[in-house]
């Protein structure tokens, strides 16, 4: 009788999961049927949003994968990436959307490199100062430090760039071409949405190649699986961890540039909310899993875009945060290993 209880609750879980999935599908299909063109334009928007989240989510998952730390300061590193993008692109290089594409493109690439280098370097510094000294402390200590670091970076951002919304350009235009590529049902699909996706995909592929096939990537995987054994193999563990933070930071820098080009403004507390979205994405996909982070981010981006853009029985943007954090809680309760994570810890 008692032994049957866990099985019973498992079955309840399964039934509930299917009910939730079924309701979601009904809602999606309902929206497709009631306004197909609107659905497609929202879908495309969600993909661009998901791409940006993916770049941030990978930073969480890379760091968690190697030292099992949720780096709460990561979202704020991303926020500083948006600020640096504005300063470099608009302030120093004078880009404001009025230049021709052949002027804009190389200068945007310069800005991209600057934002990636800045955030990569900052993330390495954060690790060196705040996390490395606590490497052997109980897990809670670096976690609390990470939260402290998050507030610190946020306030540094506010002190330098102010507490108000920061527009990318004085006119509020994007630097990316605002050209409409095509319209679906009167909703334009702009070139900037496509650029976001076109930059994100090669970055993701390069990252996966780097982790799977290169020597630093193999060192990262080794350290993630067994830190002491890695030391015995002659891997410089400190350098490998620093490299991981550099990589995560650089991705956050790229995300910062894309975000601010896409949304055309930022604010000092952006990293808090967006960081939590990206963290949710990483958990949803299975924290520590690169493909999972990208998949989770795509789903979160789509859910947000659907919720804010669809109209058939849709809660609307007031509910976006509630929905996303409800997903975080549901995943943690019912499938803590995430969509692609392995169910058992196989650290031997």
């Amino acid at each position: 009788m008692l032994a049957a209880l866990p099985r019973f609750s498992q079955q309840v879980n399964r039934v509930l999961t299917w009910v939730v999935v079924a309701l979601f599908l009904i809602w999606i299909v309902g929206n497709i049927l009631s306004a197909p063109e609107q659905f497609i334009s929202v879908l495309l928007l969600g993909i661009s949003l998901g791409a940006i989240y993916a770049l941030v989510a990978l930073g969480y998952t890379l760091v968690y994968g190697i030292i099992e730390l949720i780096n709460f300061a990561h979202g704020d590193v991303f926020m500083l990436g948006t600020m640096v993008t504005i300063t470099v692109a608009n302030g120093w290089l004078g880009l404001d959307g009025s230049q021709a594409w052949y002027v804009t493109t190389p200068l945007v690439l310069v800005t991209l490199l600057a934002a990636m280098a800045f955030c990569g370097g900052l993330n390495v510094a954060v690790e060196r100062v705040a996390y490395r000294p606590l490497r052997n402390a109980p897990k809670l200590a670096p976690l609390i430090t990470a939260i402290g670091m998050s507030f610190l970076l946020q306030n540094v951002g506010a002190a330098i760039w102010g507490f108000n919304e920061r527009p990318l350009t004085a006119t509020g235009d994007s630097i990316f071409p605002a050209d409409t590529l095509f319209s679906i049902g009167g909703v334009p699909y702009r070139a900037k949405s496509l650029i976001v996706v076109l930059i994100t995909i090669p970055v993701l592929l390069a990252l996966v190649y780097l982790v799977r096939n290169t020597k630093p990537g193999k060192a990262m995987r080794a350290v993630a699986q067994d830190m002491d054994a890695s030391r015995m193999m002659g891997i410089d563990v400190d350098r490998t961890i620093a490299f991981t933070f550099a990589l995560g930071g650089a991705l956050a820098g790229a995300a910062g540039l894309l975000f601010v080009m896409f949304q055309t403004s930022t604010r000092f507390d952006l990293g808090f909310q967006l960081g939590l979205y990206a963290f949710t994405a990483a958990v949803l996909g299975g924290i520590g899993n690169l493909t999972g982070a990208a998949l989770g981010a795509l789903l979160i981006g789509l859910i947000q875009a659907f919720n804010e853009g669809l109209s058939w029985h849709t809660p609307g943007s007031d509910w976006t945060e509630s929905i996303i954090f409800a997903i975080l809680i549901l995943v943690l309760v019912f499938r803590p290993q995430g969509l692609l994570g392995e169910a058992t810890a196989d650290r031997a």
């Binding site: 060192a219 030391r231 196989d346």
Partner: protein
């Protein structure tokens, strides 16, 4: 292999702590080039800590560790590997989600000579033909004996001057234990000096040139392996013989 007498490794009064607990309390020992030296002793005697101190994983609080005459205390482990010390750790500690071949490649992490690394992979597969069959299998799915072979092969991939083996026989069936010790002898005869930590004192003293008996963090006894085998105290306490 004949020994030529120069000490390759020398520990002088090494003290290592875990937090406030002193795990080894002033160990001095020598390993000469070409030897197989064994550290035997009960659980908690400080055998593994000695190896971890040599490797630079745990930093001794006091004492000197000379490798080729140079003090290596305070050097990070990756430099110590580069100097020529590698280890097959207690409990094997393979990378479970990497294949056998990837594990072997990780052992050669410090090396730049690709062709030499390739040769050594073949050499390891020659020593352990079983690993060659399992080369694309994830290390986490190997049997205990195969894992031990993989761990030893991985340590050899660094092409060490001094190989540290920590409990290579642990948890293995008797027939495999014999095979592992045969391979220890074979590796030594190919020119690698070995420091072997074992609880299976009988087998260890069989393959070793000399031995040290550790008791609660200090060297209680040291002698030639043959002399230790006939020593009354060792026979009673570690060989289970009377």
């Amino acid at each position: 292999m004949s020994t030529n007498g120069t000490p390759l490794l020398e520990l002088e009064d090494v003290h290592t702590y875990y937090g406030t607990i002193e795990a080894i309390k002033g160990i001095s020992l020598q390993v000469r080039e070409g030897e197989v030296v064994t550290l035997i002793g009960a659980n908690g005697a400080g055998k593994s800590t000695t190896l971890r101190s040599i490797q630079g994983i745990n930093r001794p609080k006091r004492g000197r560790i000379l490798f080729n005459g140079k003090d290596i205390v305070g050097h990070p482990p990756h430099e110590i590997v580069r100097l020529g010390i590698s280890q097959s750790p207690e409990g094997r500690r393979l990378f479970p989600r990497m294949t056998v071949l990837e594990n072997l490649e990780m052992g050669a992490f410090q090396r730049r000579d690709r062709s030499g690394v390739h040769q050594d992979v073949e050499r390891v597969f020659g020593l352990f033909p079983r690993l060659a069959e399992r080369r694309s299998q994830k290390a986490g799915t190997l049997s205990g004996g195969e894992q031990q072979m993989c761990a030893m092969g991985r340590a050899l991939m660094a092409r060490p001057k001094l190989l540290l083996l920590d409990e290579p026989s642990m948890g293995l069936a008797p027939v495999l234990v014999e095979r592992i010790f045969e391979i220890v002898t074979e590796i030594n005869s190919q020119g690698t000096t070995i420091l072997l930590v074992e609880q299976n004192a009988l087998m260890a003293l069989d393959v070793a040139t000399r031995g040290y008996v550790l008791e609660t963090g200090v060297v209680a006894l040291t002698d030639d392996a043959t002399a230790l085998r006939s020593n009354e105290r060792v026979r009673k306490a570690y060989l289970g013989l009377t």
